[in-house]
């Protein structure tokens, strides 16, 4: 009985800490820019794949024992750069249009999923060559003063031209160096990250197994939350981010470079997604669709937590994680066994998928009392 409850709480907290790690970046970005990043799950997936690649690269070297820390740094950097490119390339054109951003980032997430499935040296060459040709030509031509007038013609000529050149080169190289060049990096199958030796197993307390991997994730989450909290409250850029979150126009008037703040925040949020992906890879195998399993739950964390404070996300993530686990496992059924109708009700919902049904109903009920979440943004706008 007690061990069951202990086990339930531990698993719930570890589930919640994964959610929190995933939702942290999302919540910061959403609070600052009002943008929901549908590709957040795919950034997690990229982080997980980075972990996999680091693991493979370090296999057999003395560093293998601590590869997970190198992977964490690598995953953060890779996804942060990716997030920066995403922000500069797409999202900055869509500020003030949150629904359009949602659709655009969904498009990005589709592309990323397929990219992981079909990435090979050939594809990388084609994309790199296309970018080089197209943007190189643009860089040269754009210095002419009458560029704006001929812009349409330039695009109409250069896009097919550079695409054709890139694809032709890629195909020629592909036939020349056949197996190595066209071999898919990951394939569509799931890949497995083996945890380092010291993360396998666990220690028993009162008949419950506390797995080291889960404890590692909890510690990682705590470290990330503390780090983000410190960054937001004790650094000049953190101050700027908080200022822009509270009032964008006023911050801009006072000389805060809001565009830089946006880019930086988006990179930070994406980097956090990468860390979350690294953590997720310790829990099970990783595939192109891994990200999809997490996005809806992380969105719920943001909705329930509200965008006013970081504490909202923490409480919401732990609550949703624990509720999901307690309802989904048989813990509550056993606990309420003396009260028959209650335990029957919980038994009906006691699978992972049915637990989500009940949790969603609870969230809708919660929003009836607190429509803005736990800690809503304070202010006196008509739209609030």
């Amino acid at each position: 009985m007690l061990s069951g409850l202990l086990d339930g709480i531990f698993s719930g907290i570890s589930l919640g800490s994964v959610l929190l790690l995933a939702a942290l970046g999302l919540a910061i970005v959403f609070g600052l820019m009002g943008v929901i990043n549908m590709a957040h799950g795919e950034l997690m997936m990229l982080g997980a794949y980075t972990t996999y690649m680091v693991q493979n690269a370090l296999k057999g070297t003395p560093l293998f024992g601590i590869y997970i820390f190198i992977a964490l740094i690598a995953a953060f950097i890779v996804t942060a750069i990716f997030g920066l490119v995403l922000e500069r390339g797409v999202i900055r054109y869509l500020y003030g249009r949150p629904l359009e951003t949602l659709l655009a980032t969904w498009g990005v997430s589709l592309i990323l999923q397929q990219l992981v499935r079909s990435v090979s040296w050939q594809l990388v060459t084609i994309v790199a060559l296309f970018c080089l040709l197209f943007f190189g030509a643009m860089w040269i031509v754009a210095r002419r003063t009458d560029f704006e007038r001929a812009r349409g013609w330039f695009l109409a000529i250069m896009i097919p031209l550079s695409a054709a050149a890139a694809i032709a080169t890629g195909n020629v190289l592909g036939t020349l160096y056949k197996p190595a060049f066209t071999k898919l990096w990951f394939d569509a199958r799931n890949v497995d990250v083996t945890a380092p030796k010291w993360l396998r197993g666990g220690f028993p307390i009162a008949g419950t197994q506390f797995s080291y991997a889960r404890i590692f994730i909890i510690v990682l989450t705590i470290a990330c939350v503390v780090g983000v909290y410190w960054f937001l409250n004790n650094t000049p850029w953190g101050l700027r981010i908080r200022a822009v979150t509270q009032n964008r126009t006023m911050s801009a008037c006072l000389g805060i470079p809001t565009k830089k703040v946006d880019a930086l925040t988006f990179a930070l949020g994406s980097g956090l997604a990468g860390l979350a992906g690294c953590a997720v890879s310790l829990l099970g195998s990783v595939g192109p669709n891994t990200g999809q399993n997490y996005i809806v739950d992380t969105f719920m964390v943001v909705v329930v937590g509200g965008v006013g404070k970081l504490a909202g996300s923490i409480i919401a993530a732990l609550a949703i994680g624990t509720a999901n686990y307690l309802i989904g496992s048989n813990t509550l059924v056993d606990l309420t066994a003396p009260i028959k109708p209650l335990s029957d009700t919980f038994a009906f919902f006691s699978t992972i998928s049915m637990a989500k049904v009940l949790v969603f109903a609870l969230i809708i009920a919660f929003l009836q009392f607190r429509p803005g979440g736990l800690f809503p943004q304070k202010g006196r706008t008509v739209d609030a």
Partner: protein, 393 residues
Amino acid sequence: MDALIQSKSKARQRLLIEAGIVAAIALLLLFVIPPILVGSGQGFRVNLLGRYLALAIAALGIDLIWGFTGILSLGQGVFFALGGYSLAMFLLLQLPDGQLPDFFSPYGVTELPWLWQPFYSLPFTLFAIVFIPTIVAATLGYLVFRNRIRGVYFSILTQAALIVFFNFFNGQQKLINGTNGLKTDTATIFGQTVSSPPVQAFLYTLTILLLVGGYALSRWLTSGRSGRLLVAVRDDEARMRFSGYDPTMFKVLVFAISAGLAGIAGALYTVQSGIITPQAMNIAFSIEMVIWVAVGGRATIVGAILGTLIVNFAKSILSERFPQFWYFFQGGLFLIVVTVLPGGILGWLREDGVRLVRSQINKRRPLQTYPSLEEDPGVQYERKNLANRESDG
């Protein structure tokens, strides 16, 4: 007042022309396109066309809520599936007395679950196809809109609802066959199997008729006062509230109507494709529906239908040839439509297309005035009379 009367008759004339065009296209789809496709050896595309026309009905609903009212629902798949499951349950019950649909036996179910009982009756089923989605949407919409939850929050909540329904349908093996879904193509209706050519031809016709009906409904809703109210919700909800309207009820109403349209679409799609599974409620499908409307042109009713057909045929052709590239293409489509082409195809034609043609034939750009102010008969009337009064005084 002559001008007002004149404009009314003019509007009626325009409406008649529009009805004529719609009827002509419907007849074309009914009698000309299928023989051409069959004649050119592409007979299976008639069935595809029928399915996509069914999807276009769902797209009309999305256009109503997203294009006109500015509410982005990512959960239309729920209503689509509810409609599909309703009809599938009715079809599977077309059995001799006392028999159960086949799929029940492996799960050891010997008695028909109570949920299935009402679906013996055709009138109830027809009612259910439209009104179960409507009621679900109205309830969810009321609970959410009442609290002024909107924008991205609403989108996320509908997406969560989608996941919830997906999980629920996926998990209930003993009730509705879980992941495997309900197969309708071997069921019989009026003594014929559903997949037989006469039934499919009938369904094709029915789809076109209902699509025309959906078009008329959307047209009616978006013209006149109700249309302006919808656009007002989209453009400035706060101001609308200050003017004494309660946006909640309008939003609930339009969300419910779009759900009803999605339900009809789901039922028609199910019987033409032969199966309904919980996959109709995966996240990707519901977002795809939005992109059909976006490609065609938001807030243009024809655009919703056109976009659905274009994107789906592109999908079927591209994924036959290059299955991998479809996702790249689709992802690119999302990006392009949102960043470069926010008005969709029709929007582009209306804005830039006309300008391009004019500049090609060296015609001057027409003078821009405040929309329709110059032609508004009320304004003209006032101008004339006010001018008179001034001269009197």
